[in-house]
Symmetry: C2
Subunit: 305 residues, 2 copies
């Protein structure tokens, strides 16, 4: 009898979404369905597509029970905002679900909400509804944030638009997120909007599970392999290559552009975002070429044992 | 130190949403915010508002671990669809979050998804994304469904539009849901759309926590009290008044209309939906009058002990 731990997250999702039916979908049309950072939906608005995203934090998996509640709340919203950035978009309305044991302190939940509200308003989003539920005593708390966002029709970027020969770039530095960044990171909304406004970004995603897991996903979605220039990978202080690839929760942008675009992009980037590095770390190759195995070590996987 | 069990669900929500900031909200404007069955958002679409809703099922709270997975999946989606019905609308796109222990059988999750997909397509909705996460071993599974829906601009109905003297009506029969209906109910989408197309419905909600809890919420939102004609309350077979008021999970529509509308409505209803009763069960009164206490017994409350 197969259990989730036997097949892992990616192949579980593949199994599940492969069997979904299309329906008329109310008054809207799905442009990009399951498998990307957000769903992209045409809701009949001129010039804009709507983005849909949901993401959850589980106590003991994504944060520790004794982590400051306001920071956990920030993170819960920031992860969703980061996914809007990954598409080249920005957030709009958010719905918040909190499932907690009844013996949780009211003060804790209030601080959690304060952190969520702070992150939402900092990025022009607003919490407009949600839900609270109890979980049985002893069960892990679950915080789930669902949201709508927006992206210009000609500007949205998926994981699947990469082409053989594209340069692979990453914002910021990788690794060591558990030292605190995973609870207080700034989603790359501003950077992403600048990127899609000024350059033809072919593929993009945000790094949540670590480059070692996320880059193979982007490459696979684009029908490509990849090579990495390991020495060029920007690492946070105290992080070796293994940690930069595998720690996860970087919430930086991973993107590909044509090689010609890459050099112009890096030049202009440094003038606009002098504090934040943007680094070419490798390139997309023909599928089956490249070096997928070398970096498959590490990275965060749900259901793996 | 106050805990969630000390204050209960309703006052927790009141505390939390009272402190939310408004933001520019991307490219959309919130018309109805927290506190109703759905949020109502103006997304710049002619003639239509978008509805936003999220709802979760917790193992051991909303369903038992040995309940058939496909039925649990149906219920998870049907609850959200029912909330769109409560506003006079219909569903569009859905996002599904599944947080499960890693030792859960793949077959179980596949059946769950099958049930969700079945309920979605049965109501013209489509699952266009979502997420899977692990929870620590021994923790309750959480299934969360978030969705967008639509409602005609002039037709959406909130909980707060009721007026003193309004007749209170309920669809179907109440009580005994645990015998099976809570896992297989049909959200009242068709009925709701007919209602808002043909009548001026002043207030409406769906009954999830039982009439004893939900009617006081509708009355309070409308700034009214209420009187019930207890003998008229339509009960399922084997249910006494207490169970009809308190069992919960009826997923019927509770609505108010002017007394003059009520008689015409009931007549026309019986011609269109001959299989489903629609019953006048009481009326809204001045706030502070009526009989709130008599029916406050029973009903489902999260965090209560």
């Amino acid at each position: 009898m197969k259990r989730l731990s036997d097949i892992g997250e990616d192949s579980l999702i593949e199994r599940l979404v492969g069997r979904l039916d299309r329906a008329d979908g109310g008054c809207a049309t799905v442009v990009v369905g399951p498998g990307d950072d957000c769903a992209v939906v045409d809701v009949g608005r001129r010039g804009l597509y709507q983005l849909l995203k949901t993401d959850s934090l589980v106590e003991g998996v994504h944060y520790l029970a004794d982590a400051p509640a306001a920071k956990v709340g920030w993170k819960a919203v920031a992860r969703v905002v980061s996914d809007f950035a990954a598409m080249g978009g920005w957030p709009g309305q958010l719905l918040v679900t909190i499932a907690m044991p009844a013996n949780k302190e009211v003060r804790y939940v209030e601080a959690l909400y304060r952190g969520m509200n702070k992150c939402a308003t900092a990025h022009g989003a607003e919490i407009c509804g949600g839900e609270t539920s109890s979980v049985p005593e002893g069960s892990a708390a679950v915080i789930s944030v669902a949201g709508t966002g927006w992206v210009k029709k000609g500007r949205y970027v998926t994981r699947s638009g990469g082409r053989v020969g594209d340069s692979i770039l990453v914002t910021g530095k990788l690794g060591g997120s558990l030292r605190g960044k995973h609870l207080s990171f700034a989603p790359r909304i501003e950077e992403s909007r600048w990127l899609v406004e000024h350059f033809r970004i072919r593929a993009m995603m945000d790094l949540s599970d670590g480059l070692a897991r996320d880059l193979p996903r982007l490459a696979a979605a684009s029908g490509c392999g990849f090579v990495l220039d390991e020495k060029s990978i920007p690492r946070n202080r105290g992080c070796d290559l293994f940690r930069a690839l595998g720690d996860g929760e970087d919430y930086e942008l991973l993107l590909t552009v044509s090689p010609r675009t890459a050099s112009r992009l890096c030049r202009e980037w440094n003038a606009v975002f002098p504090q934040l590095p943007l680094t070419v770390i490798g390139s997309l190759t023909e599928k089956g070429c490249g070096e997928p195995l070398a970096v498959k070590q590490g990275g965060w996987a749900h259901f793996s044992t």
